[in-house]
């Protein structure tokens, strides 16, 4: 396994996309954090408190917007296996390291580590915005909760990108899946559920078709960093109680684990 990790270490260090993706995530985070901090500083209606950190650390993700850093860093996950197939590298890789288990899990470990570290840096950049404009610093508990949630979500998001690329063995298709499943597919499912529910005899009743909403993996995972006042807003409106940060994290974790398990099983069985 150490040999495969060495390979991944050199692979990540010697390719430009590693640098421009991490750089893009950090620069976007810095620019947007400073802009939002400036905006909050001038706001007469914003209440401050822990919410300041929530918003800046996630660049608005805590209010229900997509977590930008996850979408950027997620591409690292796609590229970790996508490049192997797009550029015909997989056979060279497996002649250097014939143990497919080591190759696969070294990619999982490296992707999780790089995406988590990048997400943590993004969170810290959010703090920079707070300090730069003299806004309210978060409480220790809130800092840990949001940081852990953001880092975990980003790492799981990137790992789902890795799994998509390993499953379809097509980088372009994997990028499309990573971008569209959380933002479009889950939105379409939510819309269908809303239509069904609002036209039912009991639009606000719990259970039934609304249960599906609790298991939309990326939406469930977002509860790890979304403010509790917004958390599960759509679900509550339809009478479904969301799982919350821990439960939502478990739903997303299980989804990513299933994706990775399927990708690993196929990677062992398929021709290189």
């Amino acid at each position: 396994m150490i040999d495969a990790l060495r390979y991944e270490y050199v692979r990540l260090r010697t390719i430009r996309s590693t640098y421009w993706l991490i750089g893009l995530a950090l620069v976007l985070q810095l620019v947007l954090a400073l802009l939002i901090a400036w905006s909050l500083d001038r706001s007469t209606t914003f209440g401050g408190g822990d919410e300041t950190f929530d918003i800046l650390a996630t660049i608005g993700g805590s209010t229900g917007a997509p977590l930008l850093m996850a979408y950027v860093v997620g591409l690292l996950g796609v590229f970790s296996t996508g490049h192997e197939y797009r550029h015909g590298m997989i056979r060279a890789t497996l002649t250097a390291i014939p143990n497919r288990t080591h190759v696969f899990w070294a990619k999982v470990v490296s992707t999780a580590a790089v995406s988590a570290v990048t997400a943590l840096l993004c969170v810290l950049i959010g703090l920079v915005g707070i300090v730069a404009f003299g806004l309210d610093l978060p409480s220790g508990t809130r800092f840990l909760e949001v940081s852990a949630g953001t880092v975990l979500y980003t790492a799981l998001f990137a790992l789902s990108g890795l799994a998509f690329a390993a499953l379809v063995r097509n980088q372009t298709a994997a990028v499309a899946l990573l971008m569209l499943v959380p933002s479009l597919f889950e939105f379409v499912v939510q819309s269908i559920v809303v239509i069904i529910k609002t036209n039912s005899d009991d639009p606000r009743g719990s259970g039934g078709v609304t249960t599906i909403l609790k298991f939309l993996p990326y939406d469930a995972g977002s509860q790890m960093y979304v403010q509790s006042s917004i958390d599960g807003f759509v679900q509550r409106a339809l009478g479904a109680e969301p799982f919350g940060a821990v439960g939502g994290g478990i739903v997303m974790g299980v989804f990513v684990a299933v994706l990775l398990g399927a990708a690993y099983a196929l990677f062992l069985r398929r021709d290189a």
């Binding site: 550029h87 002649t95 014939p98």
Partner: protein, 306 residues
């Protein structure tokens, strides 16, 4: 130095049998050429040997499968694809990446870059390399671990004549050091010069396996040209031996009999011989004869639409 033993290799794609019960041995100290028409299963066989494709059979390198080798690049060097690298990772970094898990130093990376003639572009992006430069980088990757065995799929693709000569000399040199070299190529003339042994397949099945000279000499396309003033007597005598005799001006072209047999027959018939010239079939002729019915893809002479 490793003995490669491939046993009962097999692979199907859907209902099509790409490789069928293929067994052969590649001995140390020799270059073994791997020949077959397009689509005959050469590349699939090589991938099966390295465990890259899932199929039947087993290939061992001194008794161990590729997956069982510790730091495999140090034992078996392989070139399987044209341009198997990321277009923006430099040539040197590409090799460093393959070297890292096998405990190979940067110094060795620089050595192989020099060896294949890419020192001037070691920092260049392979995406801008020509096919020949890409092949040289692939050969460098195969040589990285100073392996005792080389498995090369069409390594001369894209190389210029100087490059082909360089590759031929390199492979012969490596084989002379006692290494096992297994190489496929479509350049039959080149293979005739390079290879000591041949494995010839068609439609995934073994057609011939053995020394190049045996493969060529067993071809029915070899002939003996006979000049004699008594052709009318000698012709029927040779036909009685089972040979095919074709008049060619003043000469007779005889197939199916050796020069010695023809000489003995002439002596027995009291026929004078003025010339007895043996012409062996070329490797290309022998190959085309052996694989004539095994072509997967066959073109036609006519090119125009009706």
């Amino acid at each position: 130095m490793a003995l490669i033993e491939a046993r009962s290799l097999g692979k199907s794609f859907g209902t099509q049998r790409a490789v069928d019960d293929l067994s052969f041995t590649v001995r140390p100290g020799s270059v073994t050429g791997f020949l077959g028409p397009n689509g005959s299963g050469k590349s699939t066989t090589m991938r099966l040997m390295l465990g890259l494709d899932r199929g039947q059979g087993v290939t061992t390198f001194d008794g161990l499968t590729f997956a069982e080798l510790d730091h495999p690049v140090r034992h078996v060097g392989a070139l399987l694809e044209a341009k198997p690298f990321h277009p923006t990772r430099t040539a040197r970094n590409h090799l460093r990446m393959l070297a890292a898990p096998n405990g190979i130093t940067d110094r060795r990376v620089d050595e192989v870059i020099e060896m294949v003639g890419l020192a001037g572009v070691r920092g260049g992006r392979p995406g801008k390399f020509s096919l020949g430069m890409g092949q040289r980088l692939g050969i460098a990757a195969a040589l990285l671990g100073d392996p005792h065995t080389l498995i090369l799929d069409e390594p001369s693709n894209g190389l210029d004549p100087q490059g082909i000569t360089w590759l031929r000399n390199l492979l012969k040199f490596l084989a002379a050091q006692g290494r096992s070299v297994f190489v496929s190529s479509h350049l039959l003339q080149e293979m005739g010069v390079l290879a000591d042994e041949l494995v010839v397949i068609g439609r995934g099945r073994m057609l011939a396996n053995g020394p190049v000279r045996d493969f060529v000499s067993h071809s029915g396309l070899g002939s003996v040209t006979v000049l004699t003033p008594d052709a009318a007597t000698l012709g029927p005598a040779l036909q009685a031996l089972g040979a095919t005799v074709t008049p060619d001006g003043d000469a007779l072209v005889v197939r199916g009999a050796t020069a010695e047999q023809i000489g003995d027959a002439a002596h027995a018939a009291g026929v004078r011989l003025h010339q007895l010239a043996t012409r062996q079939a070329t490797l290309e002729e022998a190959f085309l004869e052996a694989t004539g019915l095994s072509e997967e893809f066959r073109g036609t002479q006519s090119g125009g639409a009706a």
